[in-house]
């Protein structure tokens, strides 16, 4: 084996090592960047502790939408008909945001238990509900039925 070849093999090994460790670092760093999907019931059960970014899914609680009169800021509650979480958002809401319709809010949990959202997604069209939300609703319904709760009275508006 000649010198150049040895050196090149060393270079490739070094590169692969570099790329590998960078990837490993990237994956470790990814914990911070991962959005974890949670329902209002999950958050009430304390699952949002230690989660950096939360993707909260559920329905926009009827009558809970409050708008700031001087800006586009908005506050509303997201419910799975079992528990609910207050969401604050200071950008423009998506076109299909409606009370009683499904929504996914991504953001950071605040000390008071509310979510400061940086992105709101609403359902695509009349017939479509994001699968995560559909599952959340089904699960929450089962919980509510078990607890014999009237699931329109999940929380005060």
């Amino acid at each position: 084996m000649n010198e150049a070849r040895k050196k090149r093999i060393a270079l490739v090994c070094l590169l692969l090592l570099g790329v590998g460790s960078a990837t490993a670092l990237a994956l470790v760093g990814a914990r911070e960047q991962l959005n974890v999907f949670l329902s209002p019931s999950d958050i009430a059960a304390g699952k949002a502790v230690n989660v950096h970014r939360v993707r909260l899914g559920g329905l926009v609680k009827e009558g809970s939408v409050w708008r700031d009169p001087s800006s586009v800021a908005v506050r509303f509650k997201v419910t799975d008909r079992n528990q609910c979480v207050t969401v604050n958002f200071d950008k423009i809401l998506p076109d299909l945001f409606r009370e009683g319709d499904s929504v996914i809010a991504s953001g950071f949990m605040q000390a008071d238990g509310s979510l400061k959202a940086y992105e709101i997604l609403a359902k695509h069209d009349e017939n479509y509900m994001p699968p995560e939300v559909a599952e959340t609703m089904a699960k929450a319904k089962a919980i509510a039925a078990q607890a014999k709760l009237d699931h329109t009275q999940d929380c005060a508006p």
Binding site: A22, T23, A26, G29, Q33, N35, R67, L93, D125, E132
Partner: protein, 682 residues
């Protein structure tokens, strides 16, 4: 009647694809010329029948034959005529129809422009193309037939998704599909070369123009998609790291690696096995993209109705194609042993680093895209990976890659000195530093990461210009080959693209505000003043149309009219209005009415500096790919050692075929053809 005719055409095309998959392949083994010649006819026939079916489907959309399920679901009696064309590929079934049609276009082009190929290679390449066509056609016919009837017919039609009622959507899918499906060509070449047991560089020379053109189409397709998302989705982003975008980006990255690897293989004879693998990977990733989008495992604007049967079909197809190709590679590719004599500091090494970095980026994007699916399948919870992660991770590998771009062009093949290369690049480095410093003085408020990003962009641009300048000074006569100009164009595009990305990401001003008529908001150097919102009716929608005056200082520049549309089918659409400019766009979109009188509106007012550079850069890259594909040398046939010898046979007719002649300066590895073309499999 017409839809049934279309059905018949598809079945005939499928039959022909089946025949062309088998007959020329057998012919290539039995040395039967007749059987090999079937390939051209079979491929042309597939084109004619698939094309005719495509025309019939288009006709059904144009005359609005609502008895066809696909037409009824994706068109409406009020749909404007231009969008009836794009509605053809606005649905799952229709987009597969387009896919199959585009595949036969590539096949036909291959059949027409492959006269210089050796007969066997040609027959096998066309046969592999037909196998892939067979897969697509049966997928369409058996799981997603575009001509299915609807009983009873729907009189009015549903409507085309309003997101798709747009000029960008008329051209984005065809371009993207040309790229996706085009990656089948290098794949077919690689398989044919493996079957031939001739994994030398000859197939690569024939293949290079096709790879370049497919990649160029992919580039244009992705750029168009990005441009469309920017103006149509109504929130002013140009790339979201959405799974579907990533799905198109993966084959693009591998394609870029393949283009560079093919250059090494063709010119130096090394990287042979690697080039074969990349060819297989590019097409496999295109299929993976199809699986992700078409199976409905991910939800996005691109995914249509999800149907597990379809997903399974594509997954099986992907398994057969990738698995089969890799098996073949394992059996045959291992015989590729090339001892490169290149030194450590050489263009070969730099291109090796280029490939490692590109493939690593691809792997990272793939991990980020597939991890949520995997986590869900394994019941680890529901996750999604945010755009910031992709951005940071991508920068991790692309910055060293970009820094090396000018070096690669300057470095010599085989052996060079780092000192020599750096000395030659010194003026370019000086220029890049100067340009960055100057820009920084002009705009002192720029964050440091923008300054550093610009430095890299200027370095790529200046380094490429230095390359052109040096060739001009040093060479006499024919100073530039098309290949060189293509490279320069693509690298300049890369630099411009990077500059655009850095400036948009670092300096954009995005303001979401509440405005009433007469109020105004400042975005960057512009002022956006709201005049009011009025109602208007469109062909198939009702709209609130905003009137905004855009000022620069006190000077009125233009009026923008963003709309909030409500389509009859019920969808609400935000139509942004943009004042495009090379130095920066003003972007205004309506949010929603915020008071009962309908006077106050939520308004997005954005300033996007230099965003046009992103797409301009992409177009330059694509142009570079096409330019390099036109290189004359790539169209001249490659002679094997035997053929060369038989041409020289006037002089030395007694020489043993395949014996090392030592004169093959092109490959640098004279003994290799000999080992691979041993009598048993020649």
């Amino acid at each position: 009647m017409m839809p049934e005719l279309g059905q018949v055409c598809l079945l005939l095309a499928l039959l022909l694809a089946g025949i062309t998959s088998i007959v020329p392949m057998i012919g290539s083994y039995t040395e039967n010329r007749r059987m090999m010649q079937v390939a051209s006819f079979g491929i042309s026939g597939q084109f004619v029948f698939t094309g005719f079916a495509f025309v019939l489907l288009t006709y059904a959309f144009l005359v609005q034959d609502f008895s066809v399920l696909n037409v009824a679901n994706n068109s409406n009696s009020e749909l404007p005529i231009g969008y009836r064309f794009s509605a053809v590929w606005g649905s799952h079934e229709g987009s597969l129809m387009l896919w199959a049609f585009v595949h036969t276009i590539w096949g036909l082009a291959l059949a027409l422009f492959s006269a210089s190929l050796p007969d066997k290679l040609r027959a096998r390449v066309l046969s592999v193309m037909s196998m892939i066509g067979f897969g697509f056609l049966s997928f369409m016919i058996f799981t997603s037939n575009p001509f299915d009837r609807m009983v009873p017919p729907n009189l009015d039609g549903n409507d085309l998704n309003p997101l798709l009622q747009d000029f960008g959507l008329i051209i984005h899918p065809p371009m993207l599909y040309m790229g996706y499906v085009g990656s089948a060509v290098p794949f077919a070449f690689a398989i044919a070369a493996l079957l031939e047991n001739r994994v030398d560089q000859s197939w690569v020379r024939y293949c290079r123009p096709w790879t370049n053109i497919a990649w160029a189409f992919l580039t244009v397709g992705i750029a168009l998609g990005s441009w469309w998302a920017y103006y149509e989705l109504g929130w002013g982003g140009w790339w979201f790291w959405d799974p579907v975008e990533n799905a198109s980006f993966l084959p693009w990255l591998v394609g870029a690696a393949l283009i560079h690897a093919q250059a090494v293989t063709e010119k130096r004879g090394t990287f042979r096995g690697w080039t074969l693998l990349l060819s297989i990977a590019m097409f496999s990733l295109s299929l993976l993209g199809t699986f992700l989008v078409r199976s409905g495992v991910i939800t996005s604007v691109h995914s249509f109705a999800s149907d597990p049967e379809r997903g399974l079909f594509i997954l099986v197809f992907l398994g057969i194609v990738t698995g089969g190709a890799l098996l073949l590679f394992a059996l045959r590719g291992s015989r590729v042993r090339v001892l490169s004599s290149a030194g450590l500091m050489s263009r070969e090494t730099l291109l090796l680093v280029n490939n490692i970095l590109l493939i690593s980026s691809c792997a990272l994007v793939m991990i980020g895209t597939l991890f949520p699916l995997l986590a869900e399948a394994l019941n680890l919870g529901k996750y999604s990976v945010g755009a910031p992660w992709f951005g940071k991770m991508f920068a991790l590998f692309s910055i060293p890659l970009l820094l090396l771009v000018p070096l690669g062009a300057f470095c010599r093949w085989n052996q060079d000195q780092l000192g020599r290369v750096l000395t030659q690049l010194l003026p370019a480095a000086g220029l890049a530093v100067f340009a960055t410093g100057f820009t920084w003085l002009m705009a002192r408020e720029m964050p440091i990461r923008v300054v550093l990003g610009l430095l890299v962009a200027f370095w790529v641009i200046a380094g490429t210009c230095a390359f052109l300048w040096r060739r001009w000074k040093v060479a006499s006569g024919k100073r530039y080959t098309l290949e060189m100009l293509g490279m320069a164009s693509a690298h300049l595009g890369l630099g411009l693209w990077l500059a655009g990305v850095v400036l948009v990401e670092g300096l954009s001003v995005e303001r979401d505000v509440r405005l009433t008529p007469g109020e105004q908001v400042e975005v960057g150097p512009y002022t956006v003043k709201m005049l009011g919102v009025a109602h208007r009716s469109g062909a198939n929608f009702e709209a609130d149309r905003g009137r905004f005056e855009i000022y620069r200082g006190t000077e009125l520049i233009t009026e923008l009219n963003p709309e909030k549309r409500k389509y009859r089918r019920g969808e609400v659409m935000t139509e942004a209005d943009i004042r495009p400019h090379i130095f920066g766009d003003v972007y205004v979109a309506l949010g929603e009415p915020l008071d009962d009188k309908g006077e106050a509106w939520g308004v997005r007012a954005y300033h996007k500096p230099f965003i046009r550079l992103i797409w301009l850069g992409a177009l330059l890259m694509a142009f570079g790919g096409v330019l390099a594909a036109a290189e004359r040398r790539l169209r001249t046939p490659v002679l094997t050692q035997q053929e060369k010898l038989s041409q020289d046979s006037g002089k030395n007719s007694g020489q043993i075929p395949g014996a090392p002649s030592g004169s093959d300066s092109n490959s640098g590895v004279p003994a290799l053809n000999a080992t691979l073309n041993s009598p048993g499999n020649a």
